[in-house]
Symmetry: C2
Amino acid sequence: MKYHHGNLKEELITSACKICEISGHDHMSLRSIAKEASVSQTAPYRHFKTKECLLAEVSRRGFDELTKRLRAATSKVNNANAKDRFLEMGLAYLEFGLEKRKTYDLMHSPVIDKLEFPELLDSATGAFEELVQILKELFPGISEDSLGKKCIKFWAMMHGLVGLLDMKIEPETDTNAGSAMSVVKDDFRSFLEESLEI
Amino acid sequence: MKYHHGNLKEELITSACKICEISGHDHMSLRSIAKEASVSQTAPYRHFKTKECLLAEVSRRGFDELTKRLRAATSKVNNANAKDRFLEMGLAYLEFGLEKRKTYDLMHSPVIDKLEFPELLDSATGAFEELVQILKELFPGISEDSLGKKCIKFWAMMHGLVGLLDMKIEPETDTNAGSAMSVVKDDFRSFLEESLEI
DNA sequence: TGTACATCAGTGAACGCGCGTTCACTGATGTAC
DNA sequence: TGTACATCAGTGAACGCGCGTTCACTGATGTAC
C-alpha cells in the first residue's frame, strides 16, 4: 500500500457499495468504509465533502446498474414482441431489487435528497425512462396521460413487490402472505404475465 | 405532574407515535420520547424492556389503525357491490400510507423483527386479512392459489404507490414520474378502477 | 385509626460507545529553473 | 541532470455530540396488623 493510493476515490466507492449491501445504509459509517479501504478514517475527506456525498454516489451506481440491467433484459430478446420484452424487464427489475435489496433501499431512502445531487437524479430518471420506453411500445399511440398512469402503476407494482417479497412474515393461515409470496417468487414470469391481463 | 404518573406507559406510546410521525423512526430516541412525555430519560425502562419494544408497540398501533380504516372504508358502502368496496379499501390504504407516511415506514422497516413480537405480527396479519376478504368477494370461487397471487399483486401495487407517491423527484421531461404522480394523486379512484381492468 | 414496612415508579449521574468532522502534521509527487 | 519548493493526499489525535442502558437512590403508595 503506497502512501499515495492513486485510486482511492474509486476504492472508497466500491468499499461503500460493499458495506451498504452487507449492512444496510443505516449502518454505514464513514469510518467503516475507510477501514474497508484500508485507509485512515479522515482520508475520505480528500475526495468527498461529506458522508452524504459518498452515499449519493453509491445510490447513483445502484441506479446505473439497474438501468443497465433493464436495458440488457429487453435487448437480449430484441426480436421478440413488446410484451415479452416488457416481461423480461419486469423480471430484471425484481431480480435487481431482491439481489441488491439493501442498495435498493438506499436508492429509495429519503436520507439522500436527490434534488441536491443532480447526477443522482439523472441516473434515477434514466432507469425510469427504460420503463417508459417499453410501455410506449407495448401500447402504441397511447395518450401521454394514460402512459403516465401505466408507468406509475407498473413501477409501483414492481417497487411494491420488491418491498414485500423479502418481508419476514410467516402468518399461519392457508391463504397468507408467506405462502402467496413463495408462489410469486417461484414463478415471477407467469405472475407478471397475469398482471398484464388483470 | 405527580411523582407517580399513573398512565405513563400509555403516554410514552402516544409520545412515541407523535415523534415517529414527525421525525421518522430513525430519528426516534428514547430520550426524546421521554422528554416529550415530560419524564426522565430512564423512566421508560419501568415499562419497556428495551427501546425496540416501544417501537414495536408504535408499529402495532399503526397496523391496528390501518386495519380499522380498511374495515371502515368497506363498511361505509356496505350495500354496494364488491368492486366498489374494494375501491374504497384501496383509497383508504393509500390515504393512510400518505397521511402517516413515516409511521408506515416504521411498520415496514426491518429494524423491528416481527417474529420477535407476536402481537405485532397479529396486527400486521389482521390488516392483510382485510384485503384477502374483499378479494374473495370480488372473485368468488377463486382458487387459493390465484387468490394468493391477486392479494400479493394488489397489496404490492398499493405498497408501491405509497412508496412512490411522495418521492421527491421532479424530472424535466413531459412524460415523467413527477407529473404522472400528480395525475394519480389527483384521482386515486379512477386510477384504481383502471388498474382493475388492465 | 395509626403505624411499620414492602413494593412500586419515578430520579439524576454516570458509563461506554460510535459517530462525523476538524486540525495540525507529514510524506510523496511533480515542476520550474 | 540536480535541486528548491509548491502542492497534493495521506495520517493520528482530538472534539463534541447523542445515544441506549445501568445504577444507586428516593418519594409515593398500599397493605398487614
